[in-house]
């Protein structure tokens, strides 16, 4: 039991550092999901099942989904900017 908790805490720290150090945002998000799952297991060990359920549902589930969608939206917005740039140049050229 104790060894499992220590291993989980070590994994938690590794995930926290890795999520902030990775370059790729997608990879960092997936590591963040893993962080939330580990945290929910730790909550269950700490005898807080309420928090474990909430952490698993909100932290690993919904917030990551929202962040994935936000990343996609940001990519769309950047693409829109480049398209707008090209369009305006074409208008100026003639």
């Amino acid at each position: 039991m104790n060894y499992i908790e220590i291993a989980l805490l070590g994994l938690l720290i590794i995930c926290g550092i890795a999520a902030s150090l990775t370059r790729n945002l997608m990879v960092s998000l997936i590591i963040f999901m893993a962080y939330s799952v580990i945290m929910s297991i730790i909550w269950a060990f700490l005898r807080a099942p309420d928090l474990a359920v909430t952490e698993a549902a909100v932290g690993a589930g919904i917030s990551s989904v929202l962040m994935f969608i936000t990343m996609k939206k940001l990519r769309d917005i950047n693409r829109g900017f480049t398209q707008e740039e090209g369009g305006s140049h074409e208008e100026e050229a003639p």
Binding site: D50, A52, T54, I62, L66, T70
Partner: protein
């Protein structure tokens, strides 16, 4: 209009947008028309004014980081000072550690609220105002997102990648198997909130996740027949209104020593613990609909 806004945002983002620059541009545009009417001195003072404004703005821009640094350090120092003023960890003098509040909750929580799960008794009975505020904060956040996202309602659906995802066989079959279990598990968590671990928020989050999974795997149009903007508004306002009125009634009766309709009942039964079960249901409805609403607004720009 939208293109202009995007241009403005991009210029502002790249940092080469200056309001005084725009001002001089406008003057250059209007000057040929005004040249005959206006005396030359006046146009000269105008450019002088513009130049002064430009230098003022440059000085302002240079000062902004300084002010921000001072402000940040002041706030950080204040917060650190407050931390040093707090009682030491585990000191016996604080109400949390002297056991005054804790003893009350542990000893008379079951008889006063009727909830076997003391956490639910604290959240929805002793501190029901906190949960009411949380639900309203969620509602206000959704309203803010709706104000931002529902602006472009008349545009066609811009998503294409999600359509491709919808034909994914693995995703569809996973959703087909897991969504019913997730929904039942969420309902169980909500209804079991006063008897075991769980409650409105976590159960609502699980149901919201199930709805998101269903809407990603299958066509969201089928879900929109049941859950659209109108029914969303109806559900959330009805749930929040019920919560507020029920809690007002309970506070009024409790303060005046009257008997309430909602009695504690036999602890351990499903219909016990007074208001906690209906309040959990209301919170669960608000949270699940809000989670799905966020997802729907973020992907499609509408519920």
């Amino acid at each position: 209009m939208k293109k202009k806004l995007l241009d403005f945002l991009r210029e502002w983002d790249e940092g080469n947008f200056e309001f005084s620059m725009k001002m001089t541009e406008n003057q250059l545009k209007t000057r040929p028309e005004d040249q005959d009417r206006l005396p030359p001195d006046r146009s000269w003072t105008r450019t002088e004014v513009a130049r002064a404004a430009q230098s003022e703005e440059r000085a302002f821009r240079r000062l902004v980081p300084v002010f921000m640094g001072v402000f940040l350090f002041a706030v950080a120092g204040f917060l650190l000072y407050v931390v040093t003023e707090m009682p030491a960890f585990g000191s016996s003098g604080t109400p949390a550690n002297s056991g005054e509040v804790m003893r009350r909750y542990v000893e008379s929580g079951l008889s006063e609220t009727g909830a076997v799960n003391i956490v639910a008794g604290i959240i929805l009975d002793y501190r029901a105002f906190d949960t009411l505020g949380e639900s309203h904060v969620l509602f206000a956040a959704t309203i803010a997102v709706m104000i931002l996202m529902l602006l472009e309602r008349e545009e066609e659906e811009p998503i294409s990648e999600l359509r491709i995802l919808r034909n994914d066989l693995v995703l569809r079959n996973t959703a087909k198997i897991s969504v019913p279990f997730l929904l039942v598990f969420g309902i169980y968590i909500i209804l079991n909130g006063h008897l075991g671990p769980g409650g409105g928020f976590s159960g609502g989050a699980v149901i919201g996740g199930a709805l998101i999974l269903y809407s990603t795997a299958y066509a969201p149009e089928s879900l929109r027949k049941v859950l659209n903007l109108r029914s969303y508004r109806l559900i959330v306002i009805a749930a929040l209104g019920f919560y507020s009125f029920a809690k007002c009634y309970s506070f009024f009766c409790g303060a005046n020593g009257l008997e309430t309709v909602f009695t504690a009942g036999t602890p351990g039964r499903i219909f016990s613990a007074g208001l906690i079960l209906p309040l959990n249901t209301a919170v669960g409805l608000v949270v699940s609909c809000t989670m799905y609403g966020f997802y729907s607004l973020f992907t499609r720009g509408r519920i």
